[in-house]
Amino acid sequence: MLEVRDLAAAYGDLAALSGATLTVGGGEIVALVGPNGAGKSTLLKCISGLLRPRSGAISSQGRDLLALHPHEIVEQGLALVPEGRRLFGQMTVEENLALGAFSARARAEQRSSLDRVYQLFPVLEERRRQLSRTLSGGQQQMVAIGRALMTAPRLLMLDEPSLGLAPRVVASIFETLGAINRSGVSVLLVEQNVRAALRLARRAYVLEGGRVVGEGRARDLLDDAHVRRAYLGPLAAQ
């Protein structure tokens, strides 16, 4: 579904990624965890075309993504839910979701996509005429995920969806991500909430300082000593 090889990226002189390699298979949920500044967001930005990497390769189902413009990458079926949601605040929930189905491929499935989004997030149907900037953080996150789902993705990428949200809301959203995955959409989840991410995912990578320092089954990483010490807090060591 997605192959990233030896990706290196920088912001000006600031190196953000120095050789990251990961894969996401069809139908998988893969987590990418690590501390602040590790390069996780940078990696997602490179995949979605918002940032040009210095070197490396990104491909999906045989197509070289680096040769594509960001909107073409969306058409290929890779959708990013960016950090901070980035909704169109002046527009209603409905309008945000409708814009998600902008590409021709997505438009063909617009009706069924919208039904599915409202099924997954019933509160959005209630508030569909509401201006999105007046929604709560959790509801905005639902709109952001919904909007990405409207692009009819094969791979859904999320950048820190739990940021700024209450634990109960986070749990609900992660549950929904599981449901989305079960319906056939691959998921690449970047998270600082390592415990929740590793509980949801099948496989995971650990990114630190721009490099992949660990990978494997999520369950195994939950038991890994370094991961426990660095990310799961003192109580996890017990």
Partner: protein, 290 residues
């Protein structure tokens, strides 16, 4: 008292054209974040387009809008490709600076071209019905200027509908809000930029045509109209076509009041005072969102 009322009425009539002129600039600046100081010169070209069609073909200037608007649309697309497509690759500050340089060059070139083609003389289109004046409540309403106001409002309403009902119109609005988010939903932002610039230029061309029939044009009106448009954009804020139109009317009224209170030479000053006051008191403009 009725002299003031008359002045206010004339202010409203020209205000509609200020609004139309500003709408184009607002669209370009709001979506592309590019400041086209040649916008007024594009208005001037629109005026000369109508003038040419009238002088050579006898075409009524309101009818020639049907030709001028599509021509301006096409010209806008060409200008975008030729000049601004590379400017928008930069971010924010560089983008603005480069756009100022590029558009200033464009303004100089267009001005020189106009002088060469039409001489520096003032021109105006006088139609057979040009002198007709309606009398409403004791006030004189020049028919041509009233018609211009209505046409201006009609065009603004059309663009408003385009931006809300048309798929690419919504894409333009989304791009204006957050171009990266727009990319992430599959919008080709380059195309949104192109459309916004072309529509903005079309509005400028239309404004120019209307100016040439109700008022007068000359090659040097470019900077003056860019400034008027800019004042209205600052006053009204970004994001609302109708708000921009209202802002134009307000400027027209303010100018009339200023001229009545302080005398003719102070007509233009009020616009600059408005910019200062708005930027200090309510930077997002009357109808913009903070």
């Amino acid at each position: 008292m009725s002299v003031l009322a008359q002045q206010l009425l004339l202010g409203v009539l020209i205000g509609g054209l200020y609004g139309l002129a500003a709408a184009g600039l607002s669209l370009v600046f709001g979506v592309l974040r590019v400041l086209n100081v040649a916008h007024g010169d594009l208005i001037m070209l629109g005026g000369y387009g109508a003038f040419w069609l009238f002088a050579l073909l006898g075409l009524d200037p309101f009818l020639s809008l049907l030709l001028v608007v599509p021509a301006a649309l096409a010209a806008g697309a060409l200008l975008y490709w030729g000049l601004f497509a590379s400017v928008v690759r930069f971010h924010d500050e560089t983008r603005i600076k480069n756009s100022l340089l590029v558009s200033f060059g464009l303004a100089l070139a267009v001005h020189a071209l106009a002088v060469r083609l039409w001489t520096a003389d003032e021109r105006s289109i006088t139609t057979s019905y040009g002198g007709e004046v309606l009398t409403v409540a004791g006030l004189a309403v020049p028919r041509v200027r009233l018609l211009s106001l209505l046409v201006a409002f009609g065009l603004i309403a059309c663009v408003h509908l385009l931006l809300t009902r048309w798929r690419w119109g919504r894409a333009i609005r989304a791009t204006a809000e957050d171009w990266q988010a727009a990319l992430l939903v599959g919008i080709d932002v380059r195309k949104a930029y192109l459309l916004a610039f072309a529509i903005g230029t079309a509005l400028a061309g239309a404004a120019g045509s209307l100016v040439s029939v109700g008022y007068s044009i000359s090659p040097s009106i470019g900077l003056e109209w860019t400034l008027k448009a800019l004042i209205v954009v600052v006053l009204a804020g970004l994001g609302s076509m109708v708000g921009t139109f209202v802002g134009g009317i307000l400027l027209g009224l303010a100018e009339a009041v200023s001229a009545a209170a302080f005398g003719g030479p102070y007509r233009e000053v009020v616009g600059l005072v408005i910019i200062l006051v708005v930027l200090v008191a309510r930077p997002q403009g009357l109808f913009g969102r903070s």
